[in-house]
């Protein structure tokens, strides 16, 4: 026996989700606006709640329980950042923003040089003569493909002679890679949709709610469109 809370969650969830799918109809409609504003409103509040909790757990408890008094500056600077919304006192937020940005750059640059650059180059310079023929073919392809594709993006010099040839081959290699990337991207997006549908089809008692929402919502959109009411009822952008 399924309880009323679970049924209400499924019914409302299916209804709002299908409302969001009405964007596929091709015209703005009030049901899509309802779903959109629900997501924006409740989602914004969710972000704020969990960030306030993070500030409390890390900052306030860090000061009161762990005795890390330096974190008082974190709370203080954080409150200064909130003044960014004021036209008169927005300059107060400059120093905290500078600290946050400077620290974030320090964090990113100290490691990205390795993970995004040196390690990738190291990973490209593979042994070109190995025992296994398959591994050799793979290694040659990776090394050549990266070099050829990079030459395609040389914008500071004229691409002629050997550079022009490698750039041309690199362009073809890139298109071949894009085919594979497109296939993987499509797989990813299809998985998202299939996962969503599964969520509303397992267990089977959820199926009527999903199908019912589909019929009601799209039916309403089609009827409103026929009556020329879609634009009148849709909020302004």
């Amino acid at each position: 026996m399924v309880d009323i809370i679970e049924i209400s969650i499924t019914a409302v969830g299916a209804f709002l989700a299908i409302c969001m799918f009405t964007t596929l109809y091709g015209k703005s409609n009030p049901l899509y606006a309802l779903a959109e504003e629900s997501y924006i409103g409740f989602g914004t509040a969710l972000t704020v709640i969990w960030n306030l909790l993070f500030i409390y757990n890390t900052g306030v408890l860090g000061i009161t329980q762990a005795g890390k008094y330096a974190l008082i500056f974190g709370i203080l600077f954080g409150l200064m950042v909130l003044l960014r919304v004021s036209n008169k006192y927005s300059y107060v937020a400059r120093i905290p923003i500078a600290i946050a940005i400077g620290s974030q750059f320090g964090l990113a640059l100290r490691t990205t040089i390795f993970t995004g650059f040196l390690d990738q180059i190291r990973g490209t310079i593979l042994p070109l003569l190995t025992g296994s023929t398959q591994q050799m073919i793979y290694n040659w392809t990776i090394a050549l493909a990266v070099i050829l594709m990079l030459t395609f993006f040389f914008y500071t010099t004229e691409l002629k002679g050997p550079l022009g040839v490698s750039s041309k081959i690199g362009e073809y290699v890139m298109y071949a890679a894009f085919g594979g990337i497109f296939a993987q991207t499509f797989m990813g997006r299809l998985s998202l949709f299939v996962g969503f549908m599964q969520n509303y089809m397992v267990p089977p008692w959820k199926i009527p709610w999903l199908l019912g929402s589909l019929i009601v919502v799209f039916g309403a959109v089609i009827v409103l469109d026929r009556m020329h009411l879609l634009e009148k009822l849709t909020p302004e952008e």
Partner: protein, 290 residues
Amino acid sequence: MANTKPAGKSGYRYLVEYDRRIIYLLIFILVLAPLLQPFILPIQVSPDTTTYYNVLNGLKKDDKVLVVFDTEFSGYMEIQSGIIASIRMMFQHEVKVAIAVAHVEATGIPQLVFDQLASVMQEHNYVYGVNYINLGYVFPNEAAVAASAQDFHTVVRQDAYGKSITGTFLDDVKDWSSWTLLSDYTTGIQSTALINHYGLKGTPMIANVIGVMISTSAPYVSSGIYKALLGSMRGGAELEYLTGYPGPGLTAMNSFTLGHYMLMIAIVLGNVGYFGYRSYQNKLKAQEVK
């Protein structure tokens, strides 16, 4: 192509200029229909998934694993099969699991996972605080990830339910080196930060990524930062197949298959229409010239 107005009629024209909503409707039907009566077909397991499975299989009792749900809820819909299969293996190996979340929408995921794996947890006597813990939203930004890698208890003092973590197995966790494995389930929110501050330092990492991230995550596997990579729902289905516990991944593969075939057929028909219509228009022009 859309601006030309040929004199004659052609069936090819329809293949080029049909209403795109037909494609939308077809996708809906082809995904919905197999899910109404799901059945499981065999699946070929890729080398990447086998490597991922072997890494999890190498875990020993009481190893400490940091599981990071680094995804919006939409991403969870894609990789939930991989998440459930992976954490099932962790529970079966009786490792200590700490779950951290890097996006506000993912705060509801841990409970969904615990509900689905309740029987496994009961079978292996999992006790909250002793064998597993839900830390909640502790990685809101890169600075929090970096701080936790340097000194874990600076960032994390309470669990997701507001209780102190003192007295749990996390007392032994100091920094990045305390973890046997970091398992990242990601749509890319803090994956780079985790790589930079945990993986690069030396914490063994595995990742279950969404489809669009596979090509950009693969270089981290070949550079050794990721020990293994599981890709999208397909990878999750393969892992379910290897573990012998069919779940949402395997049951979704029929819809998956039909969706792929639909795209290929649509592209082929589009090209047939394009070239056929172009040839038809050329014939018309030649006739007009005569």
